[in-house]
Symmetry: C2
Subunit: 244 residues, 2 copies
């Protein structure tokens, strides 16, 4: 049974303001919750309609389907909802490749990008403060647990890149063909906003301008979705590490 | 002004059954409608709140914002909705690479895959009859006009592949690393269902088993989203055509 106050607090976590005031975020679905429980993330509370996750009984509240409907962000809530603590990422690791996102706004895109980083072994993502919050429930949902293995850090991207002593690659419509260029094994790769690409201030800091070429008769005004561009770019950077 | 009957007919096109009974589908948004008007697709009717698309005046009905809300499939309808005729694809073109989809169910994924085919110059997609309808409004929306340049055909995929005299590639968790294998310039590439991958009956017809390898410490049970897998697979097949 949940009190009105508890319901209000949990529902408030749909909003970035309250997530960061309270230092808490939502995870839904048994598979994702299991991955967070097995990770370094610290559990705050677990709300389930059935007795699962028994090793976390002290933090578990059994609730009705109706209460789950009330606190869930999903159309079809699935047995359990968990609240975890937002960690402090003070130690950013830069092994190999780091992805930087300049104002990626769509939660589904960020979620997919985090999942791709997990697949390709990219451990850190640097996000401009204008990038969608990675603890947004839609992002967490789309990462399918990958958020537990990829560190996402919100920083002043321009200030950071200005002082970075590494290769800064970025994708542009008019860059050099990514397929035939030598690519560094380490460094930062910047992907830009869905509508506008990489902003001018960040563009001026990029020292490797890359492009994913179009084939066939597609319209020259078309662009790739940023998540698909990330898939192709990471695939290109990482496959080179196999061949050598 | 729209009659109740007109509203009912247009709204019914959200459902596959009525789309195929009437041979009509919906396109929303000025950019997408413009691309369909400039293509071989035949316009049935155009419903706009403002006088745009003046060269199609005879088929245009000016409607109120309220009526647009009624007939739209979008949360925020944008000025215009068009109804186009579903074409008969009797002549499938097989130049270069053809994509085959085995039970891809998510409209967003199919839309993204059509857009990727457009980018990479893949002219034809063969879909199992269990694949989501490409005239589903969410698919049309996600293709952003690419559906006008890529032919999508629903067939008995197993029967077709059984008699295809070409290389049939497919992606599997245990296939050969796509990055280091020789890849054919022509043939069919099969991508499978979101949850279950390629079905057993289709798998037995695949003669090139490929795999996108994982890097780093991602969980071995993870899989790539089918749209991202398509992005990486098409990128790999097409980049080889540059290098030679």
């Amino acid at each position: 049974m949940l009190s009105k106050h508890q319901i209000k607090v949990i529902k408030s976590l749909a909003q970035k303001k309250y997530r960061h005031e309270l230092g808490l975020f939502l995870v839904e679905g048994i598979k994702s919750i299991t991955e967070f429980l097995e990770s370094d993330y610290e559990l705050d509370g677990l709300y389930t309609t059935q007795p699962i996750f028994e090793s976390h009984a002290s933090k578990t509240v059994t609730i009705s389907e109706k209460d789950l409907m009330r606190i869930s962000q999903l159309k079809n809530p699935n047995t359990a909802l968990a609240v975890f603590k937002i960690p402090n990422h003070t130690d950013v690791k830069y092994n190999g490749l780091t992805l930087a996102l300049d104002a990626v706004r769509d939660p589904g895109n960020l979620g997919t990008i985090i999942r791709l980083c997990d697949w390709f072994g990219v451990q850190s993502i640097l996000c401009s403060t204008t990038t969608v919050d990675c603890y947004n429930p839609k992002v967490v949902q789309a990462t399918m647990g990958s958020l537990t293995r990829v560190s996402v850090n919100y920083i002043d991207l321009e200030a950071y890149l200005k002082h970075a002593s590494t290769t800064i690659s970025g994708t542009f419509m008019d860059g050099d063909t990514i397929y035939t260029e030598d690519l560094p094994k380490e460094g930062v790769v910047v992907l830009g906003n869905e509508a506008n690409g990489i902003s001018e201030s960040i563009e001026s800091l990029v020292n490797r301008r890359l492009s994913i070429p179009q084939f066939g008769n597609s319209k020259p005004t078309e662009s790739l979705n940023v998540a698909n561009a990330t898939a192709i770019v990471l695939s290109e950077f990482l496959r080179r590490t196999i061949e050598t």
